[in-house]
Symmetry: C2
Subunit: 263 residues, 2 copies
Amino acid sequence: MRVAAIQFDPTFGDVRGNLARCLELVSSVEADLCVLPELALSGYLFESRAEAMSLSQEPGDKELDALAGFAGRTGTTIVVGFAERAGESLFNSAVLLAPSGSRAVYRKIHLFSGEKEIFEPGDRPPAVVEVAGVRLGMMVCFDWIFPETARTLALGGADIICHPANLVLAYCQDAMVTRCIENRIFAVTANRVGREDRAGQSLRFTGMSEIVAPNGRILARADAEGEAVLVEEIDVAAARDKAVTPANDVLGDRRPHLYRLDE
Amino acid sequence: MRVAAIQFDPTFGDVRGNLARCLELVSSVEADLCVLPELALSGYLFESRAEAMSLSQEPGDKELDALAGFAGRTGTTIVVGFAERAGESLFNSAVLLAPSGSRAVYRKIHLFSGEKEIFEPGDRPPAVVEVAGVRLGMMVCFDWIFPETARTLALGGADIICHPANLVLAYCQDAMVTRCIENRIFAVTANRVGREDRAGQSLRFTGMSEIVAPNGRILARADAEGEAVLVEEIDVAAARDKAVTPANDVLGDRRPHLYRLDE
């Protein structure tokens, strides 16, 4: 199958313009899976929770119909980050738009820095969704630093981690290599670029979106600046062979009764 | 405090010679902690379990007295890998020789490749030992690929991961950077060098022993070949500050009730 990581610079507050840009970008590539950045519709640095709420969507909103329609017409599964409104609640979420029309949502469980003042943390385990026989896991940005996130997805059977991001620290892109090796899984990290100067802060996003294989090989990595559409042909079977040596299976060799992870 | 990673090429089967070399090497450096490689007393590629048994020690054996005596005289804590005999059982273990005379043992819980035919897997959780107010965790070689090992040590309060190794794959040295970042912990990986051609196999060990800081900085890294004694002055307090941002704590921000790690 063909997977794509799409890196661009969303314009803060311009949901309509960002949606149109997302549609242009996914239309520019032939792929079975396109991953777009975190909060790609709204931008990142909200002045307040009320502002974020005003730029939020429900997963079923008509605003997402154009992207969902593209998925249905072309057979391309799209994963994109957005501010999710759920009644009075607000989550930093990713939605998976499947060709079938189904829309699956993952709510970021580890909020980064000032996000804690805007969003509620996700309230459900990281999700795995099967599309056309491929098992897609979702996590969002800072979830990467907690190995439990990717591990939960791998143990749940995910073949590919779909990873929308708005990264500002320098660590993640190299750490995702470790995440792939330790779980023998693919990862598609779609990071944004550009900067935001708002809400008394100035952030530069680090780009370097990437597609990494289960053996840790970086199949493609974008530059730190500028838009990019990375596409790779991958064989999902590689993620179902958990053998790192003929005698070692990275999941089967675990010793859960000797781990002390709940302290 | 001063920590050291010692990289050398043990001679297969020459326990007395290897012990003498270990003593020379730890004597060549002034450090509060010296970590030596996995199976540093026996060598690695055993023809059989019986051969390994013949090259094994009990933790209290007089053979270890010279190293333990050095620890007592100089205040240097020594961690060294050895084949541990326990009645009829055989473990791939590390022993921590404290200046007080105490000897703490960790039995490798994730055996690599052909080790499964020689050793029993460890039967106890990864250990944390406090010496002079510093909390030392032990893991051995291939334990690195399972994030649960380092996580168990970090949650158990370890400041420093003491990591004897006989690495042959190419991944670990970079992956330890991720282990340090995700746990905000120090790691001292003491890998061996050289090659063994025995038991129908040929292995080259990858060296590149290293000392890594809680922010992922590689404080020192040895070459892929040749003996090396790396020494770094570290401030253990850095491992007790788990904040990766003012609002994010890599242990406190975990969401254990949302992880699914026991499948």
